[in-house]
Amino acid sequence: MDQRAPAQALQPPPSRPSGAGFLQSNIREYGMMLSLFVIMVLFEVLTNGTLLKPLNLTNLILQNSYIVIMALGMLLVIVAGHIDLSVGSVVGFVGALAAVMMVQWDIHYVPATIACLAVGALIGAAQGYWVAFFKIPSFIVTLAGMLVFKGLTLALLAGQSVGPFPKEFQLLSSGFIPDLFSVQGLKVTSLVIGLALAAVMVMVNVKGRATQVKHGVENEPFGFFVAKNAIFAGLIVYFAYLLSSYKGLPNVLIVMALLIGLYTFVTNRTTIGRRIYALGGNEKAARLSGIKTERLTFLTFVNMGLLAGLAGLIFAARLNTATPKAGLGFELDVIAACFIGGASASGGVGKVIGAVIGAFVMGVMNNGMSILGVGIDYQQVIKGLVLLAAVFLDVYNKNK
């Protein structure tokens, strides 16, 4: 054993990378944040400051929430090595179901909401069943699902729009954090929540770094760490302030933030998250390591269905009606968000934060271009090109 030591010693010591080196090896993550930032600044300038007006910012979040929420589920599906094309149709179907239950059948909104979420999960299960246990390609199963649920939406609504929803249900989308003590139009509660959020984030990061330092494995230069946290905390507080000067933090934003936190934790720190990455990275090796790959695949689809159900409810509440066209094409934005965020189409690679950023890149572009009056036609062209460019940069960086 010791006789081999000289050979070991010849290796370069685990170097602490310099700032530039660190940036280079983490270019994907920072690059993505940077590009979101650039896009926001770009549209802020192009729209003469309309983009970040409190009213518009609130709208932007409301418009984007369902895409972000579905991107969380889609990321897991993609990491597991699959795809779900049916989510747009599921949004429509669950929204329609909610409308029929609450408006036509007069069911109380609480049981109706729970039932709708359960139906979402059930749809996920029904599709995941074929993918996981019968090894039918997910592309095909969910393509079928897309047609089936689009059709069922039409059938359920009999081609009509159904609404409006009960007041309380609408609050899911249009509600804001109630303010306990308003000071001159500033929603203090919301601002406090924003401050608390920033504080929690900084604390979690500091604690994480402390353990890393203790074990001598931290590799982010200190300056970077401070700058990153300062910028993030600053942005959170700034956006919280902007929102507080209008109606405060939207309820959906809270739901979204909690889900983002939860899924980040699950993917980074838990055994189930780790196993999903292993499954997508090499299914055979994962199975031979004792991982129940089939059940895990099944569960990612159940989870996707559940989140699509939630997104369906939020979207329906936002429009305050269920229409046969609801959810049309959402799957494209959701999948694009994951790939812009650095997920790999062959599975095993991708991060929650990436998918969220990807969703916001799409959202800011949608919103900004609408303000600028770019027609829906060219919006699609530009979004398509941005997707291609983002993935190209990713691949290019990896091969370099």
């Binding site: 081999r4 290796q11 370069p12 685990p14 074990h215 004792g290 095993g348």
Partner: protein, 512 residues
């Protein structure tokens, strides 16, 4: 004779690792030149530089071939002048035929239409040259590794080859196939084709090599000339490892106890052709503190037996009973098998062993995540500690345990797979070709680990095609042929001849 190839002062770095520093290699026309070195020494990297996998500009130093300096931008550039490489990992398309694979990329065609009869005839000719008796239309999936290796060589011959590079060509071949391949190299030599041979099987090298270049830690440390005087294996080892290696097999005084694993009437059918019986009702046991070897030729059913026991990972319609420590256990899923205390280290590390995109840490803990978790939450630092301890005890050569396993050298990948299963804390560890592609020094380490497991009261089942290894390590050897056990030897009785004889006899009984 003059030099056909000179590589001068080659250096190549990857982020965090200097894989080669100032390596020189000279190959003379028409010689067989062996390149040896420990795992991760940089052999494969050097060959990738030579063949244009790493293009000019991504390394330092000069390549002179045929007296001219060459700057390859792609593999095609090096192939054009006759440098053909057969990589450590075979690169054939499984669902295409032999002929299609041989001409993949340079199909002889008229106006884009492939000239099938020419391809067929030419393939037949090439197959005859390499001594492979198969139809050109046979699909690659239907061939064993040994035959696939020959197809790779036939493919190399289909081009104008002047220098053939073989990176561990015999790693997954049995002795007969290896011998055939080496004879082929000697024949090429007679035709003036030079070759570079990388191998960890030193007996092969001393058999065929004219000269040997030894690489250690990315630098040339020695060049040995075998034509002047015979070079012993020990001499090569001394150059490779930097010290003499007294024993190939660490000593152990076996303390063998009661049976841990007993298998009775184990019968397995082929997963696709379900009426074919692959394992024909075998029974065996392995005791506490025992190292049991399973010998046999390639395709004897050893891997199939192991994988079918390990949670039915292979086969259909499996029947028979399994007992652990005297109690019947259910091993019908891999999870249950692991819980029962079984572990299986696969022979196919790339496709079945590793998640290549993940780092060493995540691969090591994959089979025992609860071992580094509180509830379902993984403790990163605990995990890191575990990975680092295996890195040390198995001498895994890497820039850090956060290195992606895809960038490890073949032998170090093997050690990561082994670590994974050691960490699962098995009672019975089944090792399938555990030292394939592993250098002599590291083999010794792996043998030591096997001995330690046995001393700790575990049982080890070792499947290997290298008979000396079985003879050196095992307390008892079972011989398998065509899905059944045909011989059993204690360490004292076993010999290479005795094992071969029992295989031959059983085959003869069948046919005669």
């Amino acid at each position: 004779m003059g030099a056909i190839l000179e590589m001068r002062g080659i250096s190549k770095s990857f982020p965090g690792v200097k894989a080669l520093s100032n390596v020189n290699l000279t190959v003379e026309a028409g010689e067989i030149h062996a390149v040896v070195g420990e795992n991760g020494a940089g052999k494969s990297t050097l060959m990738k530089v030579l063949s244009g996998v790493y293009p000019h500009g991504s390394y330092e130093g000069d390549i002179v071939f045929d007296g001219e300096e060459r700057r390859f931008r792609t593999i095609a550039d090096s192939e054009k002048i006759g440098i053909i490489i057969i990589h450590q990992e075979l690169a054939l398309v499984p669902l295409l035929s032999i002929a299609e694979n041989i001409f993949l990329g340079n199909e002889p065609a008229r106006f884009g239409v492939i000239d099938r009869s020419f391809v067929f005839r030419r393939t037949q000719e090439l197959l005859r040259k390499v001594g492979l008796k198969e139809s050109p239309d046979t699909l690659i999936t239907n061939l064993g590794v040994g035959k696939q290796q020959l197809v790779e060589i036939a493919k190399a011959l289909s081009k104008e080859v002047r220098l053939l590079i073989l990176d561990e060509p015999t790693a997954s071949l049995n002795e007969t196939d290896s011998a055939a391949l080496l004879d082929l190299l000697l024949e090429f030599k007679a035709h003036g084709i030079a070759s570079i041979l990388i191998s960890h099987k030193l007996n092969e090298i001393s058999k065929v090599a004219d000269r040997i270049t030894v690489i250690r830690d990315g630098a040339t440390v020695d060049t040995l000339d075998c034509r002047a005087e015979a070079i012993s294996e020990d001499r090569i080892i001394r150059a490779m490892v930097g010290r003499p290696l007294a024993d190939r097999y660490p000593p152990r005084t076996p303390k063998i106890g009661e049976p841990i694993l007993s298998v009775r009437d184990w019968r397995v059918h082929h997963p696709i052709h379900q009426d074919r019986v692959v394992i024909k009702g075998v029974s065996f046991h392995v005791r506490r503190g025992e190292v049991l070897g399973i010998a046999g030729l390639m395709g004897a059913g050893r891997t199939e037996l192991a994988m079918s026991l390990f949670g039915k990972a292979y086969g259909k319609r499996i029947s028979g009973s399994v007992e652990m420590e005297g109690r019947p256990v259910d091993v019908s899923t891999i999870e249950k098998a692991v819980d029962a205390g079984l572990a299986y280290v696969t022979e196919d590390r790339k496709t079945l062993g590793l998640v290549l995109a993940e780092d060493i840490v995540k691969n090591v803990t994959l089979a025992n995540l609860p071992g580094v978790s509180r509830g379902t939450v993984i403790d990163d630092m605990q995990e890191l500690k575990v990975a680092n301890s295996y890195r040390q005890s198995l001498a895994i050569r890497c820039s850090s345990v956060y290195q992606q396993t895809v960038n490890l050298s073949g032998g170090n990948q093997q050690k990561v797979v082994l670590s994974k299963w050691l960490f699962s804390g098995p009672k019975v560890l089944i090792l399938d070709e555990p030292t394939r592609g592993i250098d002599v020094g590291a083999k010794y380490e792996i043998y030591s680990i096997i001995n330690k497991l046995a001393d700790d009261g575990k049982a080890v089942v070792m499947i290997s095609s290298e008979m000396p290894e079985l003879l050196g390590m095992c307390d008892r050897i079972l011989v398998m042929n065509e899905g059944a056990f045909v011989g059993e030897f204690t360490a004292a009785e076993a010999s290479q001849e005795a094992i071969m004889r029992s295989i031959m006899q059983s085959t003869m009984k069948k046919t005669g």
